[in-house]
């Protein structure tokens, strides 16, 4: 009954054309659309640049700035252009007590952005901190999306009691203010770590903020996914599959999941952006990344005490966050337009 290009005689012109250019799948179509979106491509470029710079943190600290950004260097000095200066200079303002770390030298061979109050190189710390910020935002997004997809699909597809229980659970988490939930989890976990059976996490581990941030946004993603599964379940092609007697697991795998995946992908950039902001906030509140480790949030916190004397220490990591999150949001807009043609009609369409 069905005619595919293989059934046609090979000298049939249309068949030749079909064979040379197989129909592009939805992912390829979306990627082509995304590639034409100049703002999204620029954002992707910025993100790759940020990632590359952060990956070069070790090389920069060792071979360019010749410093260890995790060791305090309070009594050290350094030489630039033949002039030797202490890293922490005695204050000249106020009562003349205390010390002011040196400001930016704008020279990549040392203290490009100056030192913090421990005498550590701020530029090198920002590169190292960026690695943690990106790692935490990325990994917690992965955890969040996997958990949310499983919960949303199971609740939507199984329905009945399972759906009722899962939905009420999501309701409770949804109503819980994000920062308060994160604070509650952090305060009991950060002080003593976490120990259940084979999983053992020490108190300073990066896994704690990853785990906490990964959990708090699950309802935000799981709810729309559940809704999507519910509407797919009553869509004509799924009803047709049920009518044909296709086993329900196969329907789930072949018909429901691929359609849900586009929605999950749309969440990726915006969730990374949101998680990055959340990580910086938690670190700023000292319940995220723990010293001597750094993230952009902890460096802003370090800079708070010398905000009026050396503002660059708080300013620079904040700018790094703004640039990265902005790029993620722009990319997020592009990905949504590429994957969801309906939203293009709604949002764009000048």
């Amino acid at each position: 009954m069905s005619m595919t290009s293989e059934d046609l005689p090979s000298d049939f012109p249309a068949a030749v054309a079909l064979k040379r250019r197989p129909a592009a799948g939805p992912w390829i179509t979306a990627w082509r659309k995304l590639r034409r979106d100049r703002a999204a491509m620029a954002a992707l470029g910025v993100l790759l640049l940020v990632l590359l710079l952060c990956l070069l943190a070790t090389a920069y600290a060792r071979h360019v700035a010749h410093t260890d950004p995790f060791v305090s260097n309070i009594s050290g000095s350094f030489t630039l252009d033949g002039v030797t200066r202490p890293v922490l200079e005695p204050s000249t303002t106020g009562l003349g007590l205390g010390f002011t770390p040196i400001g930016p030298t704008w020279n990549i061979n040392g203290y490009f952005l100056g030192a913090d109050n421990q005498g550590r190189d701020v530029a090198a710390r920002i590169l190292y901190g960026g690695r943690n910020s990106l790692l935490i935002a990325g990994t917690s997004t992965l955890i969040c999306l996997v958990l949310a997809t499983v919960i949303g699909v199971v609740a939507g597809f199984m329905g009945g009691l399972v759906d009722a229980v899962l939905s009420r659970l999501l309701d409770v988490l949804w109503a819980f203010p994000i920062y308060l939930l994160a604070i509650s989890l952090s305060i009991v976990l950060i002080s003593k770590g976490f120990d259940i059976g084979p999983i053992s996490i020490t108190s300073g581990s990066l896994w704690l903020p990853i785990f906490i941030i990964g959990i708090v946004y699950v309802p935000y993603v799981a709810r729309p996914i559940r809704g999507e599964v519910l509407s797919l379940k009553s869509s004509e092609f799924v009803l047709a599959a049920i009518g044909l007697g296709v086993p329900s697991l196969r329907i789930l795998w072949k018909d429901v999941l691929p359609n849900v995946m586009t929605r999950v992908i749309v969440f990726v950039p915006i969730m990374i952006a949101l998680n990055m902001l959340t990580e910086s906030a938690l670190s700023f509140l000292s319940i995220g990344v723990q010293a001597p480790d750094a993230s952009w949030g902890t460096i802003i916190q370090d800079g708070q005490t010398m905000l009026y004397t050396r503002p660059i220490v708080a300013l620079a990591p904040g700018l790094a966050i703004v640039i990265t999150v902005l790029a993620l949001n722009v990319l997020g807009d592009g990905v949504r337009d590429a994957l969801d043609p309906k939203s293009k009609l709604r949002i764009g369409g000048a």
Partner: protein
């Protein structure tokens, strides 16, 4: 309508119960450490630990512990801090509420006005340079960590440009009660209001623009146009009114979330002694009874706010009343 209210009310009570259970489990049943030593704070003496165990019924079954905790939070309200000895936590939370409300209400007024102005202007001049510019600025606003923006505002208004005519009126960080000095209250809060509102102006402007553009393709807008109404009238009288329904939902959720702890970062940066700052200080001292109180009270506020929004929503949109 009545059955809908009853249903939402039941749902609200269920969610409150759920939240109290989650909080209880986090603080009392997370494996890893003895809850008594957590509650008593750092370096507690064995006598204090024993007193905590007895006070909170930690040697009794878990449901009893839960009941004791809830009784002390809501009925007797005699939960006390172990870090600041003898400080009753529930009255402290209540005392901090006016500060948080002052901050959030002022910021909310700013962001509603700002969001509507940005959204309507961008939609009216869709595709123009103004539209693109507003959307980019909005996106930057959404991408800034609020505590960092607050610090930068402090840097400008308290330090670098404090001596210039622009910011010489800005008082030092802190809160002045409205009843004591209304003008001082206003001056102390202007910068925090703006800081907190920036993110939401960006967000609401974008959402409103999208919703106005979506509305412009609806039938009733075509009807309004064909009646010969001007573009301004169509936009403001017809499209904006429907779009405000989305706006109200978002507003209720965000307002509730801010009063219930979301304003924490702004309060910390500007030294405003609200509920969020109380939570933050308790966090720095590992003062668990205080955190339990702020978390429970704040989340209950959020749930109540969501309930009120649902009612308002049903009031605004007849369709919700019917299918609920």
């Amino acid at each position: 309508m009545i059955s809908m209210i009853v249903r939402r009310l039941a749902q609200m009570i269920f969610v409150m119960f759920g939240i109290s259970v989650v909080v209880f489990l986090i603080f009392f049943a997370t494996p890893g450490a003895d809850p008594a030593s957590r509650i008593a704070g750092r370096n507690a003496s064995p006598e204090t630990l024993a007193a905590v165990r007895k006070d909170f019924g930690l040697d009794r079954p878990v449901p009893v512990q839960y009941a004791i905790m809830m009784k002390r939070l809501f009925i007797t309200q005699d939960l006390t801090s172990f870090v600041n000895r003898g400080q009753k936590v529930v009255p402290s939370v209540m005392g901090a509420v006016p500060v948080t409300l002052s901050l959030v209400i002022g910021a909310a007024i700013l962001w509603v006005i700002g969001g509507i102005v940005v959204g309507v202007m961008a939609a009216a001049w869709r595709g123009s340079v103004l539209d693109r510019g507003l959307m980019i600025v909005g996106l930057i606003g959404v991408s800034m960590p609020v505590f960092w923006l607050g610090e930068m505002m402090n840097l400008v208004s308290q330090s670098r440009f404090h001596d210039s005519f622009l910011f010489s009126w800005v008082p030092g960080l802190g809160y002045t009660p409205l009843t004591q000095d209304p003008f001082g209250w206003f001056k102390a809060l202007v910068i925090p209001w703006m800081t907190l509102a920036v993110l939401y102006i960006g967000l609401y402007g974008r959402v409103l623009r999208a919703s106005l553009i979506e509305a412009s393709q609806e039938d009733y807008i075509r009807t309004a146009r064909s009646k010969g109404l001007s573009e301004t009238q169509v936009l403001l009288r017809h499209a904006l009114r429907t779009s405000l329904i989305t706006f109200v939902t978002l507003f209720g959720l965000d307002f509730g979330a801010l009063v219930g702890g979301g304003a924490l970062l702004t309060e910390v940066v500007f030294g405003l002694q609200g509920v969020g700052k109380l939570t933050y200080d308790a966090l720095q001292n590992l003062d668990l009874p205080m955190i339990m109180a702020t978390v429970i009270y704040a989340s209950f506020f959020v749930v109540t706010a969501n309930f009120l929004v649902d009612l308002l929503y049903a009031f605004l949109d007849p369709r919700v009343r019917q299918d609920a």
